[in-house]
């Protein structure tokens, strides 16, 4: 028993300051300790995320400045927001979407929601399937894993290029296919078919994200619970429903949450596949407004976009508050 103490003393002697710090940390209350550990992350986020957002928010309260050298004009309060939401900026400041809704903002909203629901839903289902396959032990599993991850490693520019060319009449075969099945011969020039292609492209690439996360969740499940279930008479499906699903649910929710958020911000893919006019999303609106140098308006659009995403996320959170891992 005394050996233990001497060793501890030796350690203390070696680096008293370090040991002191450790002691100090250990004696913090749980709350203090929590905040101490959060400090580095919060510091980084404060400088790189929160401050820029504040600054952008301030920008959203100012008028656009198209001519002067300064980036934004005079302070106008919430006018950008009210103009945006009342449709006053539809013609003069926002790009008109290709979809023939009279208001670009509304159509961006609709496109974004359709895209989000379709892609996230399908990705989750397929991703779950892929994760279940990868969770099995079989020869060549590693290579199947590579195959499933590959799309996720493809840069958006290239992902866009693949589908753009594939469905470009005269270049790839996609247009011939859509024509054969009685749809348009120029799928990328048509909003609904272009949206479909974009969803397809997104599913191809980001299902891997779902699959990887869910796989990790699956791998963390205590295998002995399956023994119990098996003996209790659970079929494979019942094991899945009653054990696998609830136990990966927290992971799935995280995946779902972040996929939803990302899907609601879709931009790069649209830009490279069909262009923002054919399939206008909320982020398209933000980026195109930024690139027309209407910084005030653009900032307002960005914050409105974030607010919409925030609303969707709150629905999620309220809905799944009870399943663990929550807030």
């Amino acid at each position: 028993m005394s050996t233990e103490q001497t060793t501890e003393k030796r350690q203390q002697g070696k680096s008293g300051a370090y040991a002191g710090a450790v002691r100090w940390i250990e004696n913090l209350s749980e709350t203090q300790f929590a905040y101490l550990l959060l400090t580095p992350a919060l510091l980084l986020l404060a400088v790189i995320a929160f401050w820029p957002l504040l600054s952008t928010f301030e920008m959203s309260l100012r008028a656009d400045s198209l001519r002067g050298a300064s980036q934004v004009g005079e302070f106008v309060g919430l006018q950008n927001y009210t103009d945006l939401l009342t449709g006053k900026l539809d013609t003069v400041a926002l790009p008109q979407p290709f979809i023939d809704f009279s208001q670009p903002f509304k159509s961006a909203l609709i496109v974004t929601f359709i895209f989000t629901i379709a892609s996230v839903l399908i990705e989750t289902i397929i991703g779950f399937g892929q994760a279940l396959v990868l969770d099995q032990d079989f020869r060549g599993r590693r290579w199947v894993r590579v195959a499933i991850i590959i799309p996720w490693a493809v840069p958006i520019v290239i992902q866009g290029m693949i589908f753009y060319l594939m469905f470009q009449p005269g270049i790839g075969f996609g247009a011939n296919l859509t024509e054969m099945v009685g749809l348009t011969s120029t799928p990328l020039a048509n909003s609904s078919s272009a949206l479909g292609i974009i969803v397809l492209a997104d599913i191809w690439k980001t299902t891997a994200f779902m699959a990887l996360l869910i796989l990790a969740g699956l791998q963390s499940i205590d295998r002995s619970l399956y023994d119990v279930a098996k003996v209790a008479g659970a079929s494979k499906w019942q094991q899945f429903k009653m054990i696998t699903l609830p136990l990966v649910l927290p992971t799935v929710l995280v995946a779902l949450l972040f996929r939803t958020i990302a899907a609601m911000r879709v931009y790069g893919l649209i830009e490279t596949v069909s262009g923002c006019t054919t399939v206008p999303s909320l982020s398209c609106l933000v980026v195109t407004t930024f690139s027309t140098r209407r910084y005030g308006t653009a900032a307002a659009v960005a914050f409105v976009t974030a607010a919409i995403i925030g609303i969707v996320v709150s629905i999620y959170i309220v809905k799944f508050r009870d399943s663990q891992g929550g807030f």
């Binding site: 992350a41 270049i171 996360l213 891992g325």
Partner: protein, 315 residues
């Protein structure tokens, strides 16, 4: 038992002439559900393989098709031009762009994993006032389109922001200008992933570690992280690949020179002309840029999992 077998044999003999191999297979599967399950498993696996690999295969087809022949490309390359894989290196130091991306991704992943591990531990295993609000705040970062960060960050990294008379450092064209935003923007995801994984480790194991003499942080490093190895590795892989392919800040925080840490994306776009698009080169470059990384990542993931698990043991 024996009787049943008998009738089965009889039945088989009767039907021998009329049954095709498929029917026989079906019959066999009905008698042996395990076999059906196996077969289904392989069908599903093949389906997944096909759907994920097909566009990639088509990319290969594009790469191998000489530029002028990229017209009506179906499932086979029109022409065969493997030289494209050499050409991409002749045109640009593509490997250096890859290297830049790799380094940036590695640094970012390291930062994210460390900070997110601490935060994930806090959110997953401690209860304290402000927890919910902070989590929401961190999550809220991901609501914003990256464009919303850009202008202030650009000013910050080009020395245009002053605080108390000291102007911000000139990070433009340095790794810092990319690594910092990457870290901040990819961190929320990792924090949430790790929060769920860390939260699921039974308290007993952390208790045991603390009794054995670890500090709270020691228990995190030696027990909680290793036990969440699949989650940590996945968070790492997701971050790494996301950074490797990131297209927004990669694009804006460097002037595109390879010596200024321009990442992969600049390399790929380097094969693009104002009007002329060298699709075959871009395709080839992506394959070169992506395939080794994907394989590396899969191997790394396994290593990370076993490494984390083992890392807890050795000093």
């Amino acid at each position: 038992m024996a009787e049943a077998e008998q009738t089965q044999t009889d039945g088989r003999q009767q039907a021998e002439t009329t049954r095709g191999p498929f029917q026989r297979w079906v019959q066999g599967s009905i008698q042996n559900p395990e076999r059906t399950y196996q077969a289904m498993f392989y069908v599903v696996t093949l389906f997944f393989l096909f759907t994920t690999l097909f566009p990639f295969y088509w990319l290969l087809v594009l790469a191998l098709t000489p530029r002028e022949a990229i017209v009506n490309v179906w499932f086979l390359p029109k022409g065969f031009n493997p030289g494209v894989f050499i050409e991409i290196f002749e045109q640009l130091p593509f490997h250096l762009f890859m290297f830049n991306s790799f380094v940036l991704a590695l640094i970012t992943t390291a930062i994210v994993l460390v900070l997110a591990s601490l935060a994930g531990y806090v959110f997953g295993r401690l209860s304290f006032p402000g927890r919910g609000v902070l989590m929401l705040l961190i999550l809220a970062i991901s609501y914003f389109p990256p464009a919303a960060f850009l202008l202030p960050l650009f000013r910050l990294f080009t020395g245009n922001v002053e605080l108390f008379g000291v102007s911000s450092p000139m990070l433009y064209n340095t790794p810092g200008a990319m690594v910092l935003p990457f870290s901040a923007l990819f961190m929320p995801l990792s924090i949430f992933i790790l929060t769920t994984f860390y939260g699921q480790i039974p308290d007993g194991l952390e208790d045991a570690a603390r009794i054995e003499g670890t500090t709270r942080l020691g228990a995190l490093v030696r027990v909680i992280i290793p036990l969440s190895a699949p989650g940590v590795a996945t968070a790492g892989v997701l971050t790494f690949i996301s950074v490797y392919n990131e297209f927004f800040f990669s694009f804006l925080m460097t002037n595109g020179e390879v010596q200024n840490w321009a990442p992969l994306l600049w390399g790929i776009l380097g094969y693009q002309g104002q009007y002329a698009e060298f699709y075959n080169l871009m395709a080839a470059a992506s394959i070169v840029g992506v395939l080794p990384i994907a394989i590396l990542v899969v191997i790394a993931q396994e290593k990370i999992v076993s490494g984390l698990t083992a890392g807890a043991l050795k000093e």
